[in-house]
C-alpha cells in the first residue's frame, strides 16, 4: 500500500515541481506573492492528497539534489528526474515583444486611466461636442510618460539581469574546474567560489580552503548586515580539498522546496560510500550559502547548488510588500466619487432639460438648423442616451485628469527632500534617511500613535558591561568603576575570599566566556591574534548578532578571562593566570526570543557542563539551587536603574545525562519537519535543574536626544507607546529617563503581579474608574495630570483573549482601549514580536481609526512595522531587516522628530492643498460650460476651444501647483521644530475633511458663476470694441478661459514666492493663445480661434472685465482667510505672526 502510494507521490511530485517552475517563469519578480501563493497552494494540495496513505517518511514538499548529477547507487530510492529552473534571474517585467500590450494592460487597470479611456472611446464612437483629441491627448501623454518611465526602468533591469546572468562561474566537471556563465548553472552542479566573489545561487557548503571547514560571508546586499558571518561545511565533506576529491563525492541532498525565509533551511545530505549504508547529516541554515552574499577571508570553497535562479532565497525575497494607502489617498478617492456623482447628475439634468426644452419642434429643429436624415431616423431613446454620453464627455474634465500624475510626481519628487536632508544624515553610519515608498509621505503628518521599540531604538544598543553579581557578591570591572582605576585582579579579590565562593566565581566567569555565539574577527594570522590580545593591542575584536553578548565577553576580558577563539570545536579561554583553558564545544542551544535564553554544553577535561544564560524570568523557574533570593534582589535593583540583566546558571551533566540530551538534540536536529518545534521541546527537556551562578548587568544608554524627541512628540499630541521585550523595571527606568513618564505622571499598572492579587476584571474596572474620575475632575485643564500605563505581555494576552462569557464581564478590549485613550504614554513590556503587531492592530482598528506609526530596529519589530500605517526602520546594529521592511528608514531615533514634525507636516499640507486645489480648479473649469448649456439650448456646445480644453490640465495650470506642492512652506522649519504643538493643527486629516472640501467646491462654483455671468453681462447684446464690430461665441469662451487661467494660477501663487513659475505659466498661456490664434493652421479643419485672442485683447473693456473678474473671484477666499485668522487663529497662524514679530524685534535690536 505504502509503496504504491510512494509512486503516486513521486508522480505528483514532478507535476508539482513543474507547476512551480512554470509559475515562477511566468510571473516574474513583480508577482512573487503569487508565486508563493501558488507553491503554497500546491503544497497544501499535496499534503491533503497524501496524508491519507503516506507515512511520515514521505516529504513531498522536498526536493532531492544529486550532487554532480550522479545517480545514487541502486538500492537507494528510485531516481526521479526533477526539473528545476536554470540559474537565470529575471527581474524584468517585460520583454521586447510584450512590452506594449502588457504595459498598456497594466496601466489601464488603474481606474483613472480606464475612465479616460472610456471617455476617449465614447468620443470616437458617437458624435460628441469635443473632439477625441481633448481627452485622447492627455491620456496619451500620461500613458506615454508612464510607459517611458517603466520601459526605462525595465531596460535597466534587463541590463542588470544580463550582467548578472553572464557573470563567470567556476563549475567542477569531470574533476576539472570549468568556467561557465552564471545562467548555465543547474541544480546539483558543484561550484567553486573564490574570495570576494558573490555566490551565484543558493549553495550547500561542502568544503573550504580553511582547515576547520568554515568560511566567512557578508550578507550586506541581502540584509544589510556588514558583519562577517561564519558558515560551516558539511562535516563529512570538509576534508575534500581538490577538484578531484570533490568530484568523487557521491551524495544526494534532500531539502525543502524554496522558501523566502533567509534564516531558515532544513535539509539532509546522504553520502554514499562504497556499499555501505549511506551516512545522513542534517543541514541547516549554517550550511546554506545564499545567493547575493559574498565570500570573505576564505580563499575558495566548494559548494553544490540547491536552489537556482528564481528559486533562490534572494529572488523569493524581492516581494513587494502589501500596498499601504494613505488617509489622503482615501479621502481623495471619496472626493472623486462625489465628483463622479456630480458629473453624472449634471449630465442627467442637462439631458432631461434638453428634452423638456426642445419639446416644440421649432426649438428642436428651427428652420435654420436642421438635423441630417440619419439623425432624424434615430430612435429617441438612443438619441437621449447619446446626448447623455455627450454631456458626460463635455463635463468629464471635472474629474481631474492630471491629478493622479501630479500627485504621484509630487510624492516621488517630494520624497527626495527626506533623502536630501542633511540633518537626518548620520556621520557614523555614513547614511541618511531612506525612503522605501513615497506613497506615505503625507501620512507622516497624520500620526497619532507612535509605537517604538526600546532596545536599539530608544537606546543605543551599544552595550557596556557594568557589573556582575556572583553568589550575592558584586564585581565591577575596573574601567567603569566611577573613575577609580583599579586593576582587574584587585577588583575581584577585594571582596571575596571563601574558597567555595572562588570556585563559583571562576565557574561564573567561565560560563560567560563559553556561553555565547560570539566570533573573533581576525585581522592577522592565528598567531597574530593571540599576540594581539595578549599584548593588549586591539588587533582582534568580537562580532556577534547580539550586542549583549559582545558586552559580556568584553566585560569578562576586563575581569581577566579572555575568550580567544573557537578552534576545532574547542573553545579556548585565557584565564587570569595567563593559562589557556580548552573546552570542547558539544552543543549550542541557540537563543530565541520565546525561550529567552541560550545554553551551551561543553566538555572540560573530565566533566560535561551545561551553561545557560537568559532573562531572569526564564532562568529562575529552572533553578534548583544557588543563592536565588540574593541574586533576585540584585537583579531587581539593577533593573530599576535601567540596566539590562541576565542570569547565569549551570548544570553538571553525567555521562548518561549527556547522552540522553545528545540523543534528544540530534533527533530534533535531524527532523525535516517541525524541526523548530521539536528543537524547542528538546531544549525544554534539557534545560532544567540548574544551579544559579549569578547575574550580569549591562547598560544600554539612551540614544542621543531620545528624551527631547519623545517630549516633542508628546507636545505634538502624539501618543507614544513603548513596546519591549525587556523586564518591566528596566523598561520603566528607560521610560523615565526618556521622559516618556514624568515625575508627575500617575502610573497605572496592569501587570501579572497585580492580576494575581485581583481578578483582571476588577483591575481593569478600577483603572478605568480612576481615569474617568480624574478626567471629570480636571475638566478643561488638560495637562494638570496625565496617566502612564504599564502592561505586560501576559496580561495583554489575557485582555485580548476573547472572553468566554457572551455578556458576562463585557469586553475587556473596549475597557482597555478606553484606559489607553486617556493615557499619554503606555509601556508594554515582556512583549513577543507578534504581540507587538497585535497591539498595533488593536489600536489601528479601534473606533477612531487613528493613524499609527511603528518604529523599530530589529527583526522582532518587523511585524509591527508592517502592521502599522507607517513603518519606520532604524538602521541599527541588529541588522537591516527592520530598515528593509519599513516604509522609511532613519539612522537614529531622534530623526523621527524632524521626519514627523517637519517633513510630515509639510507633506501633508502640500498634498492636501494640492488635492483640494485640483478639484477646485476643475470645478471652475467645467461649471461655466454647464451654465452655458442653459444659453445654447442644451446642445452640448463647448465653451472653450479644443486646444484650451486639452491643455488646461496638462500645461496651463499644472506647473504652478506642482511647484507649490513641492516647496510650499507656510511656516519655517525652525518654527515647526520649535513648536511641536503645530502638529495638532493638521491632525485627523483636518485639511481634507468634508467641510473643507465643500468650501473649495463652493468656491469653485462661485468663481465659475462669477466668470460666466461676468462675461455674460459684458456680452449682453452690445459691443465692446471701439470700432463697433461684434465678438462671437469663441471670444466669449476665451474671455472666460483667460479669467479662469489667471484666477486659478494666482490662487496657487497666493502664498508662493516662486513668482517666475507663476508668471512663466501665465506667459506661456498668453503666448500659446497668441500663436494658436495667430496662424491659419493648415492641419485643422476649422479656424474658429483665428485672431480671437488678439481681437479680445484689443478691446479695453475686455481688459477691464478680466481685471474685475479676477479680483472678485479672489476676494472671498482672501476675506475668509483674513476673518478666520483674525477671529479664531489656529496655532500655525499664530506661529506665523510670531515669527514676524520676532523678525521685527530682531531688526529693532540690530538698529
Amino acid at each position: 500500500m505504502c509503496r504504491s502510494s510512494g509512486d503516486v507521490n513521486s508522480a505528483f511530485f514532478t507535476v508539482h515541481t513543474l507547476g512551480t517552475v512554470e509559475a515562477l517563469s511566468l510571473h516574474s519578480l513583480c508577482f512573487p506573492s503569487r508565486c508563493l501563493f501558488h507553491s503554497l497552494w500546491c503544497h497544501n494540495l499535496f499534503f491533503s492528497l497524501l496524508r491519507s496513505c503516506a507515512g511520515e517518511e514521505n516529504w513531498v514538499d522536498s526536493r532531492t539534489v544529486y550532487i554532480g548529477h550522479k545517480e545514487p547507487p541502486p538500492g537507494a530510492e528510485a531516481y526521479i528526474p526533477q526539473r528545476y529552473p536554470d540559474n537565470r534571474i529575471v527581474s524584468s517585467k517585460y520583454t521586447f515583444w510584450n512590452f506594449i500590450p502588457k504595459n498598456l494592460f497594466e496601466q489601464f487597470r488603474r481606474i483613472a486611466n480606464f475612465y479616460f479611456l472610456v471617455i476617449f472611446l465614447v468620443q470616437l464612437i458617437i458624435d460628441t461636442p469635443t473632439s477625441p483629441v481633448t481627452s485622447g491627448l492627455p491620456l496619451f501623454f500620461v500613458i506615454t510618460v508612464t510607459a517611458i518611465k517603466q520601459g526605462y526602468e525595465d531596460w535597466l533591469r534587463h541590463k542588470a539581469d544580463c550582467s548578472l546572468n553572464e557573470c563567470p562561474v567556476d563549475v567542477v566537471q569531470q574533476e576539472k574546474v570549468v568556467r561557465t556563465q552564471s545562467h548555465k548553472l543547474r541544480v546539483g552542479d558543484i561550484v567553486m567560489v573564490r574570495e570576494d566573489e558573490t555566490f551565484p545561487c543558493d549553495l550547500i557548503f561542502l568544503s573550504s580552503s580553511r582547515d576547520d571547514g568554515t568560511c566567512y560571508v557578508t550578507t550586506t546586499s541581502l540584509d544589510g548586515e556588514s558583519s562577517h558571518k561564519t558558515y560551516y561545511a558539511v562535516p563529512d565533506t570538509m576534508a575534500f580539498k581538490t577538484e578531484q576529491e570533490v568530484d568523487s563525492l557521491h551524495a544526494t541532498i534532500e531539502c525543502e522546496q524554496p522558501q523566502p525565509d533567509l534564516y531558515k533551511f532544513v535539509g539532509r545530505i546522504n553520502i554514499y560510500k562504497d556499499k555501505e549504508e549511506p551516512v545522513s547529516r542534517t543541514l541547516g541554515a549554517e550550511n546554506l550559502l545564499l545567493r547575493g552574499a559574498t565570500l570573505k577571508n576564505t580563499q575558495h570553497i566548494y559548494a553544490v547548488a540547491v536552489y537556482t535562479g528564481m528559486e533562490t532565497k534572494m529572488a523569493l525575497n524581492y516581494q513587494s510588500k502589501s500596498q499601504k494607502r494613505s488617509a489622503v489617498e482615501k479621502s481623495m478617492n471619496a472626493f472623486l466619487i462625489v465628483y463622479l456623482f456630480i458629473l453624472i447628475s449634471k449630465a442627467v439634468i442637462n439631458t432631461v432639460l434638453k428634452y423638456a426644452w426642445q419639446w416644440s419642434p421649432d426649438r428642436d429643429e428651427p428652420w435654420y438648423n436642421h438635423r441630417t436624415e440619419n439623425e432624424r431616423q434615430r430612435h429617441v431613446v438612443i438619441r437621449a442616451f447619446t446626448d447623455f454620453l455627450a454631456f458626460m464627455v463635455l463635463f468629464n474634465y471635472i474629474i481631474p485628469v492630471s491629478m493622479y500624475v501630479t500627485v504621484e510626481m509630487q510624492k516621488f519628487l517630494g520624497s527626495y527632500f527626506i533623502t536630501w536632508d542633511e540633518e537626518m544624515f548620520d556621520e557614523e553610519l555614513g547614511q541618511g534617511a531612506q525612503v522605501n515608498t513615497s506613497d506615505l509621505n503625507e501620512e507622516l503628518g497624520q500620526v497619532e500613535y507612535v509605537f517604538t521599540d526600546k532596545t536599539g531604538t530608544l537606546t543605543e544598543n551599544n552595550m557596556e558591561f557594568i557589573e556582575c553579581c556572583v553568589d550575592g557578591n558584586v564585581y565591577i570591572p575596573h574601567a567603569i568603576c566611577n573613575g577609580q582605576i583599579l586593576s582587574a585582579a584587585s577588583s575581584i579579590d577585594m571582596i571575596d575570599s571563601s574558597p567555595g565562593g572562588k570556585r563559583i566565581r571562576d565557574l561564573f566567569f567561565r560560563a560567560l566566556c563559553l556561553c555565547h555565539t560570539v566570533q573573533v574577527k581576525e585581522e592577522e594570522t592565528v598567531d597574530g591574534i593571540k599576540r594581539g590580545i595578549h599584548q593588549g593591542r586591539p588587533t582582534s575584536f568580537y562580532i556577534s548578532s547580539s550586542p549583549d553578548e559582545v558586552a559580556l565577553v568584553e566585560g569578562m576580558k576586563r575581569l581577566g578571562y579572555t575568550y580567544l577563539r573557537l578552534k576545532d570545536n574547542y573553545m579556548e579561554i585565557l584565564n587570569k593566570d595567563d593559562e589557556i583553558e580548552r573546552f570542547e564545544l558539544l552543543h549550542v542551544l541557540n537563543f530565541d526570543s520565546v525561550r529567552r535564553r541560550m545554553s551551551v554544553i561543553v566538555k572540560s577535561i573530565s566533566e560535561y557542563l551545561m551553561f545557560c544564560k537568559g532573562a531572569d524570568s526564564s532562568i529562575f523557574p529552572r533553578v534548583v539551587s544557588g543563592k536565588v533570593e540574593q541574586v533576585k534582589a540584585h537583579v531587581e535593583q539593577n533593573a530599576v536603574e535601567g540596566l539590562r540583566t541576565l542570569c547565569v546558571a549551570y548544570r553538571r551533566l553525567s555521562e548518561s545525562e549527556y547522552q540522553e540530551a545528545c540523543h534528544y538534540l540530534t533527533e530534533a536536529k535531524l527532523a525535516l519537519q517541525d524541526r523548530e518545534q521539536r528543537l524547542a521541546q528538546a531544549y525544554d527537556v534539557i534545560e532544567r535543574d540548574f544551579v544559579l551562578l549569578g547575574a550580569t548587568a549591562v547598560e544600554d544608554r539612551l540614544q542621543e536626544k531620545a528624551a527631547d524627541t519623545i517630549e516633542s512628540l508628546h507636545k505634538a499630541g502624539i501618543k507614544v507607546w513603548v513596546l519591549t521585550g525587556d523586564k518591566m523595571e528596566t523598561a520603566a527606568a528607560t521610560c523615565y529617563a526618556s521622559k516618556l513618564f514624568r515625575r508627575s505622571t500617575q502610573i497605572l499598572e496592569l501587570t501579572k503581579k497585580r492580576t494575581k492579587e485581583q481578578s483582571l476584571h476588577d483591575v481593569l474596572f478600577e483603572l478605568n474608574r480612576t481615569v474617568l474620575r480624574q478626567r471629570s475632575i480636571s475638566g478643561l485643564s488638560v495637562d494638570c495630570l496625565d496617566f502612564g500605563l504599564i502592561i505586560d505581555g501576559a496580561t495583554l494576552s489575557a485582555v485580548l483573549k476573547p472572553s468566554q462569557e457572551v455578556s458576562g464581564h463585557g469586553n475587556y478590549r473596549e475597557i482597555f482601549l478606553e484606559i489607553c485613550r486617556n493615557c499619554s504614554a503606555v509601556l508594554c513590556c515582556r512583549m513577543a514580536p507578534l504581540q507587538k503587531a497585535q497591539i498595533v492592530k488593536l489600536i489601528k482598528s479601534s473606533k477612531e481609526h487613528p493613524i499609527t506609526l511603528a518604529v523599530g530596529d530589529g527583526a522582532n519589530d518587523v511585524s509591527m512595522i508592517l502592521e502599522a500605517h507607517v513603518g519606520i526602520g532604524i538602521m541599527g546594529k541588529e541588522g537591516r531587516q527592520a530598515a528593509r521592511n519599513s516604509d522609511y528608514a532613519i539612522p537614529k531615533f531622534k530623526h523621527l522628530k524632524k521626519m514627523l514634525l517637519v517633513h510630515g507636516h509639510y507633506y501633508y499640507i502640500r498634498i492636501a492643498e494640492l488635492v483640494q486645489y485640483f478639484f477646485y480648479k476643475n470645478v471652475c473649469f467645467i461649471f461655466p460650460q454647464f451654465l452655458y448649456q442653459f444659453f445654447c439650448g442644451f446642445s452640448q456646445q463647448p465653451l472653450y476651444d479644443t486646444a484650451y480644453l486639452t491643455l488646461y490640465n496638462i500645461s496651463f495650470t499644472s506647473l504652478p501647483i506642482l511647484l507649490y506642492s513641492l516647496v510650499e512652506q507656510h511656516v519655517t522649519i525652525d518654527t515647526l521644530k520649535r513648536e511641536p504643538s503645530l502638529y495638532r493643527d493638521i491632525a485627523k486629516n483636518s485639511l481634507l475633511r468634508w467641510p473643507v472640501f465643500l468650501y473649495w467646491t463652493c468656491l469653485g462654483v462661485f468663481d465659475a458663476v462669477i466668470f460666466f455671468f461676468g462675461a455674460y453681462f459684458l456680452f449682453d447684446n452690445t459691443t465692446f470694441t471701439s470700432n463697433g464690430q461684434m465678438f462671437g461665441n469663441w471670444t466669449f469662451g476665451t474671455l472666460i478661459f483667460t479669467v479662469l487661467v489667471f484666477t486659478v494660477t494666482l490662487k496657487a501663487t497666493k502664498c508662493l514666492g516662486l513668482g517666475f513659475v507663476i508668471w512663466g505659466s501665465l506667459l506661456f498661456y498668453v503666448i500659446f493663445s497668441l500663436l494658436w490664434g495667430g496662424i491659419v493652421w493648415p492641419f485643422l479643419n476649422y479656424q474658429r480661434m483665428y485672431y480671437v485672442f488678439m481681437q479680445m485683447l484689443s478691446s479695453g473693456p475686455a481688459w477691464l472685465s478680466i481685471i474685475l473678474l479676477i479680483t472678485v473671484s479672489l476676494l472671498p477666499d482672501v476675506i475668509k482667510k483674513v476673518l478666520c485668522r483674525a477671529i479664531c487663529p489656529t496655532a500655525t497662524e499664530r506661529a506665523q505672526v510670531r515669527k514676524r514679530f520676532l523678525k521685527i524685534d530682531l531688526k529693532f535690536y540690530l538698529c
Partner: protein, 372 residues
C-alpha cells in the same frame, strides 16, 4: 505694516563634507552625504504674504479707491452713448411689418417691403453704427456652430467641390455642392434695411450707409478667401456649385463690388461669426460722419425701410434695428461701470470692517504674544 516675511535669509551654500567627513570609507561617505544647498535643505528664501487683517487692509483700500473712479468713469461713458432700438418683427397687428411677417414664404419671388417710422430725440454726433438684432436665435447651438467648412471659406478649391461632412444636411443640393455650405451660411440674415430721414419739411433723404469695415480685418483678408485666387470672375470660379437653399442669389452675386463679393462679402463674414448668446446683434452698416457742422443723424423723424425676407416668427424670434454711437469702450453697457463701482465700494467697506477687526483682535493677539 510689513506684508510679508522672509523665511530664513541665510540661504548660504556651502560645499558639503569638505574634510569634515573624514574617517573610514570617506570617499563613499562623502558621496552619500546630501548636499547642503538651500534648495535641498528646503531653505529657499520664500516670499510669503501672510493674510492678516493688517496686511490686506491697505490692499482693500487701494482696490476700493481705484475701482470706484474707474467705475464712475465707465458708467458716465456708457451713459453718454446714444442708442436707439426699433423692433420691426411685425408681431402686433398695428406693426407696419405685420403683413410681411404673416405672408412669409421661402419661394415668393416678390419681396415684401415695409417701412417703420421712428423718431430720434437727440442728434447723433459721431459715427453711427447700425446693427440688426435677433433674439431667440440659437446661433450657438452646437449643431449650428460646427455646420461650416472653414477650408472652403478660405478658398480651398477641393473643399469647394467636396464640402466637409460637418455641413450636412446643407452640404449638397441636387447633387451639387453648396457654396458656402452649412447651416450658418444657409441661414444668413437677408433683410435689407435702409434709413430715410424725413426732413421737418417733409422731404425724404436717404442716409448713406457704408457696408465695409463691419467685419474683422483679419477675417476679411486672411480667413475668408474666394477660391481661384487669380481669377476675378467669380461666376466662373463658383461654377458647378449651387447656392444655399435659402438664398435668393448665389454667393457671387452678393455685392457688385468685387472686393466685397463671394466669400469676402462682409455681411456674410459678420454672419459667419456665430454669436455667443441667443439674443445678439450684428453690425450691419456704418453711417459715417460727413461734416463737422451737421450731426450724423440730426434729431427728427426717420423711417426704416425694410425688405422683409427673414422669417423669425416660427421660433418666436424678434428682429430689431439698432442705431448706436460708440465710445472707446464700445456700445452702451452700464454693467461694467456698475460692477466696478460696487466691487470698489465692497472692498472699501470690507477695508473699514477689517480695520475694526484688526483693531479689536489684533491688539488682543499682540497682548497674548507679549504675555507669552
Amino acid at each position: 505694516m510689513m506684508a510679508s516675511s522672509y523665511k530664513d535669509e541665510d540661504g548660504h551654500i556651502t560645499v558639503s563634507g569638505s574634510g569634515a567627513a573624514a574617517g573610514a570609507g570617506g570617499g563613499s561617505l562623502r558621496s552619500k552625504k546630501p548636499e547642503n544647498t538651500a534648495f535641498k535643505q528646503q531653505r529657499l528664501p520664500a516670499w510669503q504674504p501672510i493674510l492678516t487683517a493688517g496686511t490686506v487692509l491697505p490692499a482693500f483700500f487701494i482696490i476700493g479707491l481705484m475701482f470706484i473712479p474707474i467705475g464712475i468713469g465707465l458708467y458716465v461713458t456708457s451713459n453718454n452713448i446714444k442708442e436707439f432700438e426699433v423692433d420691426y418683427t411685425g408681431v402686433e397687428m398695428s406693426s407696419p411689418c405685420f403683413t410681411c411677417s404673416q405672408n412669409f414664404s421661402w419661394n415668393s419671388t416678390k419681396p415684401c417691403t415695409c417701412s417703420v417710422p421712428f423718431h430720434l430725440d437727440q442728434p447723433y454726433e459721431s459715427n453711427v453704427f447700425m446693427y440688426y438684432g435677433l433674439s431667440n436665435f440659437y446661433q450657438n447651438h452646437r449643431r449650428y456652430v460646427k455646420s461650416r467648412d472653414d477650408s472652403q471659406l478660405n478658398g480651398n478649391e477641393e473643399s469647394l467641390r467636396k464640402p466637409s461632412k460637418e455641413c450636412e444636411p446643407y452640404a449638397k443640393h441636387n447633387n451639387k455642392p453648396i457654396a458656402p455650405c452649412g447651416a450658418i451660411a444657409n441661414s444668413m440674415f437677408n433683410d435689407s434695411l435702409e434709413l430715410i430721414y424725413i426732413d421737418p419739411n417733409g422731404t425724404k433723404v436717404q442716409i448713406p450707409l457704408t457696408a465695409t469695415g463691419i467685419a474683422w480685418w483679419t477675417d476679411k483678408h486672411v480667413k475668408f478667401r474666394n477660391p481661384g485666387a487669380e481669377n476675378t470672375n467669380l461666376t466662373v470660379v463658383f461654377q458647378g456649385t449651387t447656392r444655399p437653399v435659402n438664398w435668393r442669389r448665389p454667393v457671387f452675386q452678393l455685392d457688385s463690388d468685387p472686393d466685397n463679393n463671394g466669400f469676402i462679402n462682409e455681411d456674410f463674414i459678420v454672419w459667419m461669426r456665430t454669436a455667443a448668446l441667443p439674443t445678439f446683434r450684428k453690425l450691419y452698416r456704418i453711417i459715417q460722419r460727413r461734416s463737422n457742422v451737421h450731426p450724423t443723424l440730426p434729431r427728427g423723424n426717420y423711417s426704416l425701410e425694410v425688405v422683409y425676407n427673414y422669417p423669425v416668427r416660427s421660433f418666436e424670434g424678434r428682429k430689431r434695428m439698432i442705431l448706436s454711437t460708440i465710445s472707446w469702450m464700445g456700445g452702451k453697457n452700464p454693467f461694467l461701470g456698475i460692477a466696478y463701482v460696487s466691487v470698489g465700494s465692497v472692498c472699501f467697506l470690507l477695508g473699514v470692517l477689517l480695520l475694526i477687526i484688526h483693531h479689536k483682535y489684533g491688539n488682543r493677539n499682540n497682548a497674548a504674544e507679549i504675555s507669552h
